[in-house]
Structure formats: C-alpha cells, structure tokens
C-alpha cells in the first residue's frame, strides 16, 4: 500500500455518518411501515388529544374563575380586527372603482373639451372666412358695376366706332367726288 495517500478524518467521518444515517433511516422505515405501527400511532394521538382536551378545559375553567382572558378570548378579538381589515380592503376597492370611473369620466370630459375647442376654432375660422367672403362679395359688386360701366363705355365706343365708320364712309365718298370738282377747265 502506498504511504503517499493522505488521510482526512473529517472526510471519513462525513462518509460514515451518511452511511449510518441512511442505514438507521432505512431501518426505521422498515420498522414503521406496517399496519401495527399505524394503529399504535392512532392510539397514541387519541390519548394525547384527550389529554390536551382535558388540560384545555381545565385551563379555561380556571381562567374563568380568575377572570383572566384566554387564547380563545384573544382569538375572538382578533377576528374583529381581521373583519375590520377586510372592510377597509373592500372600501379601498370601492374607492378604486370610483377613481377608475372618475378617471374615465375626466377622460370623457377632456375629449369633450377638446372637441369643443376644435368647434370654437372652426367657428372662428368660419367667421373670418365669412368676413373675407363678404368683403370679396362687396369687391366683386364694385367690380361688377365697374364692368357695367366698362360695358357701357364699350357700347359707347362701339357706337362711336360705327359713327366713325359712317363718317369714314362719307369721307371716302367725298374723296371720290373731289377730283371732279378739282379738275379746273375741263369741259362740262
């Protein structure tokens, strides 16, 4: 056997302890895994329960005589506290519902305000447009009267043109006759 191998007693102790632990537990498992053990444990718990029951009954009786509260009295008081907590919780949840509905209402109101703002803006725009249109209408009326005048003037000019044409014709006619008048000494 080699003498270079070193021995760690803690390691060996650990390994052996694990083996012992497993062996003891396996043994206990075998020992207790039967109906007799189960029935015996039932007897044990029944006796124990009866003992605790009797003990508690006496304790309650003594506490009653001494006029001191027992755990049961405290438990009754605590149940009132828990009931109050539950009521506060349910009130808080109702407040949530109200908060949520208020939030959604305020959102609705906000959207209505937004729409109203848009409408006001639009109305203002329409008003401005109306003023503009009115002005433009007045301008166009002026323009129309001016146009009428121009039309009248044009008519007048047309008449003048016609007169000028007539005059021109007359002048033309007169021009055609003039050589006869100017040919002095010609036989007639």
């Amino acid at each position: 056997m080699s003498t270079n191998r070193q021995h760690d007693p803690y390691d060996s102790f650990k390994k052996y302890s694990e083996i012992w632990e497993k062996q003891i537990n396996d043994f206990l498992f075998l020992l207790s895994n039967n109906n007799e053990f189960v029935k015996m444990s039932k007897v044990g718990t029944d006796v124990h329960s009866r003992y605790i029951e009797a003990f508690k009954k006496n304790q309650e009786a003594l506490a009653g005589v001494l006029n001191i509260p027992t755990k049961n009295d405290l438990a009754n008081v605590t149940s009132l506290t828990i009931q109050t907590e539950e009521k506060i919780d349910s009130l808080e949840e109702q407040i949530w519902v109200i908060q949520d509905s208020l939030k959604s209402q305020s959102k609705d109101i906000e959207s209505v305000v937004e729409v109203s703002k848009e409408i006001i803006k639009l109305t203002k725009q329409l008003k401005t447009e109306l003023v503009k249109t009115k002005k433009e209408l007045a301008d166009s009326k002026n323009l129309q009267s001016e146009l009428q005048e121009i039309k009248f003037e044009l008519n007048k000019l047309t008449n003048l043109k016609e007169d000028i044409e007539i005059l021109k014709d007359h002048i033309k006619n007169d021009h055609q006759k003039e050589p006869v008048l100017t040919s002095a000494g010609s036989p007639k």
């Binding site: 003498t3 070193q6 302890s17 895994n33 109906n35 718990t45 405290l74 438990a75 828990i82 539950e86």
Partner: protein, 357 residues
C-alpha cells in the same frame, strides 16, 4: 526512536494543515455563538398587509418586461428561501433580469387563525393580493409562480381566477396525491381512517411548527445529522459556512399550519385526491384544473426527495392550456431555490411570454 508497527502501511498519514484547522474551528465556534445571519437583501417595499400576510414588491433593476411575476410560496415554510443570499437569491436574479417581482408572504398563523382554510387563503388573501399587485404594477396581466405547496395553491387559484393570469409557473408541485415519498402503510392508514388528524387539529387549533417539522422529518429522514458532519468537514470554507447557516436557519424556521387549512389539505387533497380528480370545491366554486387556459410551465427536480415527479406530471394533461411546457431540472426540492437556479429556468421560459418592453 520511532517504533514500526505492522499497521504502519495500512493507516495513511493524517493530513494536518494548522491554518485550515484554525479556520475550521473558528467558523464552528461562530456558528455556535454568533447570532443567526440576516436574510433578505433584495430591496423591497410593502404593498398590502392583511392579518399576518404581507404582499412585497421587489422592483426590477431595469424594467424589461411588462408582465410582473407573482410568487406564491408554500404554507409549510417561510418564503425567504427565495431571497436567501446575495447572488444566490431567486428574487434578486429575476429583478436583475428585468422583472418586477411580487411575493405574498403568508405570515405565521397564530391560534386566532385556526379557522383559516385553503378557501379563505385563496379567496380572501391570494385573490386580493393578486388584484393589488396588478393595480400596483399597472400591468394588464400577471404571471403566477408557485413553489411546492404554493404551486398547488397557485394552480387551484388559477382554476377559479377572474383576474387576468397570462402565465402559470409551478415548480416541484404536488398535484396527484396518490403518490407519496413516505411509507405506504402510513398513506394506507390515512386513507382508510386509521390516522385521523381532525381531532388533533380540534385540540391544538393549528398544527404546531414542531409537528410540521416532525412530519417532514418522518416522511423523508427521521434521523438527520449528516448536515452537521458535512459542516464539520467543510467548516474551513467561510462561504460554505455562511451558506450552511442561512440554509440551517430556514430549515429550522418552520411555521405552524392553520388548522382548517391543514384539515382541508389532509382530507380533500391527500386523502381524497380531489384536485387531480377535478372534484375540489373552493367556497362555492368548482376548482377544476380544466379551467386553466393560461400558458403553463411545470418544473420538477430530478433529486427531489419530497415531491416526486409523478406527483407533478399529471397537471400537464389536466389543464386546457395550449402553450404548456414541462422541464425536469438537475436539482433537489430545496436546492432549486437555494442555488438561484430557479431564476434562470423561469427567465428562459417567461422572457418571451412577459411582453418584453
């Protein structure tokens, strides 16, 4: 002059490192004498409180997802296993990955809570907490993450929920209670009435935490001391000692189980297996897993010595979800959360289903 013995070659020489030994015993002394470590380093704020239950919010470091995660932990233990230590914390891992995380801490029930049943826990605590988380986050939908019995509660809740649950993630979850890790005769005795918890609950009100611990010990390993020998073996490693102390604090920090809830768990789920059969009633509502239409992710641990894979698997066929995934990870029942691996597994699946921003 040294005397040679015939066993000289059989016993290897002792490894003796004085520095290591000093560290080992110093750390062990600290474990015995120093106060327990403070657990829960991830920043959080309280959102809602009722009775002993608190809804915590762990904000994302840099929010990357629109749908928050809502953790439901078991009623048997305290949920700080999900935030056990920096760098190993499941919650820290998820907030670092960009999720808003909510955690419902059920609290420690007192004698006055003996009448709280599973229906009260689900209808009056879980439902309200989910509503609060949705309102607080401003999200339209939520992802429910249930661990161990918290997974069972989450699945029951999801089957009757009116709230918008987009994803349901359950890890190491018992759904089918016909399978069980403990001795078969105990289960048989329980089912045929030889073991009856009703009377015990009637006299105690709640199931005391020592009984809860004893129950788990009894079904897994009644004699358990290897954790101490492992500590002795590795006590020279300060990081291991710190991890051990945190784990040990959590393991021994059991909570009592509300009496009525334990009665319902024992009779309706364990004895009659009503959840898997689709016969469970929560108040006036029929908690049929068929009603679950959310995306479903089921995680089982291959080395789980408490909830077996066949206990979780049936949920896959019981729900109506179209998008459903099953994953078996190399971990134990607790180590899945203890190592922070759970955060990685959840992120891999949830990242594409949580409305990335």
């Amino acid at each position: 002059m040294a005397v040679d013995t015939p066993f000289k070659d059989l016993i290897p020489p002792l490894e003796l490192d004085y520095e290591k030994e000093m560290k080992r015993w110093k750390h062990l002394f600290q474990v015995l004498n120093e106060p327990e470590p403070k657990i829960g380093d991830t920043p959080r704020t309280e959102v809602w409180r009722k009775n002993k239950s608190v809804l915590w919010h762990y904000p994302a470091k840099q929010k990357k997802y629109g749908i928050p995660l809502f953790f439901v932990y078991s009623l048997f233990n305290k949920p700080y296993i999900l935030d056990i230590a920096p760098k190993a914390s499941v919650i820290e891992g998820l907030t670092n990955r960009g999720y808003d995380v909510y955690l419902l801490d059920w609290g420690t029930p007192g004698y006055e809570d003996k009448n709280i049943g599973l229906d009260t826990y689900i209808e009056k605590y879980l439902r309200t907490a989910v509503k609060r988380a949705i309102r607080h986050s401003g999200a339209d939908e939520i992802t429910i993450v249930g661990y161990c019995l918290g997974g069972t509660i989450a699945a029951i809740y999801a089957s009757i929920a009116e709230e918008p649950i987009k994803n349901l993630i359950v890890a190491t979850v018992p759904i089918d209670f016909t399978k069980y890790v403990g001795p078969d005769k105990w289960a048989e005795g329980f089912r045929n009435g030889d073991i009856n918890v009703d009377r015990l609950i009637d006299v105690y009100g709640n199931l005391p935490s020592t009984y809860v611990e004893a129950m788990f010990r009894a079904v897994s390993a009644p004699i358990y001391f290897s954790n101490y020998t492992t500590l002795l073996n590795r006590a020279h490693d300060a990081r291991y000692v710190d991890k051990w102390r945190r784990m040990n604090k959590w393991t021994t920090d059991q909570v009592p189980f509300a009496g009525e809830a334990f009665r319902q768990l024992a009779n309706n789920l364990f004895k009659d297996n009503k959840l898997a059969k689709g016969e469970l009633m929560i108040g006036s509502k029929h908690a049929d897993l068929k009603n679950i239409k959310s995306n479903l992710f089921v995680i089982s641990s291959s080395n789980d010595n408490l909830v077996l894979e066949p206990q979780s698997l049936p949920i896959m066929n019981l729900v109506s979800s179209k998008d459903k995934t099953y994953k078996l990870v190399e971990a134990g029942h607790v180590s899945l959360a203890l190592t922070g691996l759970f955060a990685v597994v959840v992120d891999e699946w949830a990242s594409t289903r949580s409305n990335p921003l």
